[in-house]
């Protein structure tokens, strides 16, 4: 009881100060970044979606390590969940008698749509909201639904993990191509003054690779969890 009261007092105090902070936010606001991206984002990176412009060009170095977090988490979960990587053919706990038929039927309808939507979000990442990270998550969800449709699916985790690592290599490789063409690390390999359309080639390639990597990573994670729950 004393603890709860203390917690209330502490959180109340922190909230009060936070409220004070929001008072002068509007005067403080420095919009340097915002105006820079609005004015130069499309011309410099070739991406209409400024979020993509930031994570695939201006701050690509961060994106490697955002993808790296997933990579490390996957390796960590597989190591900790004790199962040998060589163990093939996971039998899942999904029980076909407990999954309603309606759900399975609808899954069959939804599955291709989700897959297509996922690819759409990945490929159009530089034009509309979305991108590799988001699209990859959608594709991974579609693959998860696949387990409901087909209970006896075999998954070779080892292969997926290998491909995931290779894709990470490819991402770093494609991103460092710019060192050869422009003498700069981790940016678009097209020259800075090339057209928006040709710059988009790089964005699409990188979005696809990142989407692929994220989908594979999430796939491995939930496969490991499904095995664990068995």
């Amino acid at each position: 009881m004393v603890k709860q009261a203390l917690l209330l007092v502490l959180l109340g105090g922190i909230f009060a100060v936070f409220y004070l902070v929001t008072e002068d936010l509007s005067e403080l606001y420095n919009n340097f970044g915002k105006t820079y991206f609005q004015l130069n984002g499309l011309l410099e990176t070739g991406s209409r979606n400024l979020v993509t412009a930031i994570y695939l060009d201006y701050r690509l170095f961060d994106s490697f390590f955002e993808a790296g977090i997933l990579l490390v988490a996957v390796a960590g979960i597989i190591w900790i969940s004790k199962h040998d990587l060589n163990e093939k053919n996971a039998q899942f706990m999904l029980d076909r008698y407990k999954t309603p038929d309606l759900f399975i039927t609808f899954s069959r309808i939804v599955y291709p749509m989700m897959l297509v939507f996922g690819f759409y979000v990945i490929i159009n990442g530089h034009l509309s909201p979305g991108g590799g990270f988001q699209g990859g998550a959608i594709v991974a969800t579609a693959i998860l639904i696949l387990y409901y449709i087909d209970h006896d699916r075999e998954t070779n985790i080892k292969q997926i993990v290998t491909i995931e690592k290779l894709v990470f290599f490819l991402i770093v490789l494609v991103a460092s191509l710019s060192l050869l063409t422009r003498g700069e690390f981790f940016t678009n390999f097209m020259p800075l003054d090339s057209s928006v359309a040709s710059k988009a080639i790089y964005l699409v390639i990188l979005n696809i690779l990142i989407g692929f990597k994220v989908a594979l990573g999430l796939w491995t994670i939930f496969t490991a969890f499904l095995r664990e729950g068995r």
Partner: protein
């Protein structure tokens, strides 16, 4: 040439992935190759830029440096770089085994190395956050690597508490970006110096958020509770790595953020000195009462971090470099002690110092090396701990000086207690020790002695400070140290060894995760009180 920092980050990471992909135990040699490449690159880089560090700045993609991510090096980051390369070498040699399948371990170890190099060299706050997050995840995997119940619990404790701290750090970055329009550390430093933005409530609040996140990462009082748990259950090599260098990552952030806000009119030195002193005293109190050899060492890390904070919190540049020097020295002797303790624990199959006896007769060489480490940490003349403690002491007032002496007394006491393991009859006839494990321990002991005797040229070369007035040995110092040992022995004999109720109580005192979170909120509120509310009144 200017891109060497990028190679430093990616060489270990790519090597880690290649080792993971090829499933041959022999691939482990690639780790040594990668480590060699990193060493050569770092030396080459240092020799090129040591005269003028301002040339090291570059931005990825060649963008406007307020928009893109920049890397930058200076004397502090370069010395951190060499220190971490050295400790990673030691841990790699210690754990290296080409016969067993260690590729998972090497993967995490080398990945962590690359990420840590990035954390050291980055000049961008958000990039820093990404690296801290990745470090947190990697360290919790390394802690849980043994897959025992204890290590799982410690890893989850570590992960959750540190994630809370890292989130506070992120919130701070958001507020800074809002008010400064960029997150380039250099640029924010100049903007703070040239405008009065740092006096607004928002920036003060952002400072509090950043600093409370860092307090968790660097294990300051009262948020150090994750450290003894995590460092005591990990493998010995990993413990050495965590205590030696990874926990210093938090202190490195502290240095960076303090320097960033150096021009701000905040009164930080009093507050952080108090935090440092409390951390040191509480840490040493816990350390004195422990019986588990790795717990003792882990709690000493806490108390030594407190001593470093005493130095680093100072605005005086000499005391500050004393704190920095103590940080480097601590990395050396604490890894030495952890690696040595690892060998002893392996041989005796117990961590309880009550049941380990006769180490000197069974393993004389190892005992001598361990004694070098103990003399260093307790601040004996001629050893490295003594030099850095003297530099810190030099800048303290009388009251502060006695606080530090109390901590030293506690350190001496607990290492007198630990030295009991050397005495007694030989219990094991032929201890099985791999020679490879001796090499890093011996190298670290040599490094401790070198830093103790040749501190003047080393400090001048690396940090550009003149320590000529600090002598490694004199009759007075030896006498003072002897006095300290005598007092420590009395304290050990008549208080600790008798195992009174309060001693037992401190030994068994554990802070639950729930309480740790209350502590975090409390610490946060106190910081708000000191840095936001008090200046407004």
């Amino acid at each position: 040439m200017i891109f060497v920092p990028v190679y430093l980050v990616f060489v270990p990471i790519l090597a880690a992935m290649i080792i993971f992909l090829f499933q041959k135990p022999k691939m482990a040699y690639l780790a040594l190759v990668a480590q060699g490449v990193v060493t050569v690159l770092a030396v080459w880089y240092f020799l090129t830029f040591r005269d003028d560090y301002s040339q090291t700045f570059f931005t990825f993609g060649g963008w406007n440096n307020l928009i893109g991510i920049g890397f930058r090096n200076d004397a502090i980051s370069i010395s951190f770089l060499f220190l971490s390369i050295f400790i990673w070498w030691m841990v790699l040699i210690y754990t290296f085994n080409a016969k067993k399948d260690t590729r998972n371990f090497l993967f995490f170890l080398l990945f962590l190395e690359g990420v840590f190099f990035g954390l050291i060299q980055t000049n961008d706050l958000f990039n820093m956050f990404v690296f801290i997050e990745l470090t947190t995840i990697l360290v919790s995997i390394l802690v849980a690597y043994e897959k025992a119940g204890d290590s799982f619990r410690a890893a989850i404790y570590y992960l959750l508490l540190n994630t809370a701290g890292v989130l506070a750090f992120l919130l701070g970055i958001i507020l800074l970006y809002y008010s400064f329009g960029n997150i380039n550390i250099n640029q924010i430093t100049t903007m703070i110096a040239s405008s009065d933005l740092s006096e607004t409530t928002t920036v003060r609040f952002a400072y509090v958020l950043l600093m409370s996140g860092i307090a968790v990462k660097s294990a300051m009082f009262p948020l150090f509770t994750w450290l003894p748990r995590a460092h005591a259950v990990a493998k010995s090599g990993v413990s050495a790595l965590l205590s030696g260098i990874v926990v210093k990552g938090g202190l490195y952030l502290f240095i960076r953020i303090s320097l960033m806000f150096a021009a701000a009119p905040y009164d930080t030195s009093m507050f952080f000195f108090a935090i440092g002193a409390t951390t040191a005293i509480v840490g040493v109190m816990f350390a004195m009462t422990q019986k588990d050899i790795k717990q003792i060492l882990a709690y000493h890390t806490v108390s030594q971090i407190g001593i470093m904070m005493m130095g680093l919190s100072s605005t005086d540049s000499l005391t500050f470099s004393g704190g920095l020097l103590h940080l480097y020295n601590h990395a050396l002797f604490k890894s030495l002690l952890f690696l040595g303790a690892g060998i002893i624990v392996n041989v005796y199959k117990t961590k309880n110092i009550k049941y380990i006896r006769g180490v000197f007769r069974a393993m004389p060489l190892l005992s001598i090396l361990m004694i070098v480490g103990m003399l260093s940490i307790s601040g004996s003349p001629l050893f490295n701990g003594f030099i850095s403690k003297s530099v810190i002491k030099y800048g303290l007032t009388d009251a502060q000086y006695w606080l530090l002496q109390i901590v030293n007394l506690g350190t001496a006491t607990s290492f007198l207690k630990m030295s009991q393991i050397f005495f007694g009859p030989r219990t094991l006839s032929y201890p099985l020790v791999r020679k490879r494990e001796y090499l890093p321990v011996a190298l670290l002991a040599v490094a401790c002695l070198t830093m103790g005797v040749l501190h003047v040229p080393i400090a001048d070369f690396v940090l550009d400070v003149d320590l000529a007035k600090f002598k490694p040995i004199s009759l007075q110092y030896v006498f003072e140290y002897g006095l300290m040992l005598g007092a420590g022995f009395l304290l050990y004999k008549y208080v600790i060894d008798k195992d009174y109720k309060p001693v037992q109580w401190i030994r068994n005192f554990r802070i639950s995760f729930e309480t740790a979170n209350y502590m975090f909120l409390l610490y946060f509120t106190v910081m708000i009180g000191v840095f936001v509310v008090y200046p407004m009144l």
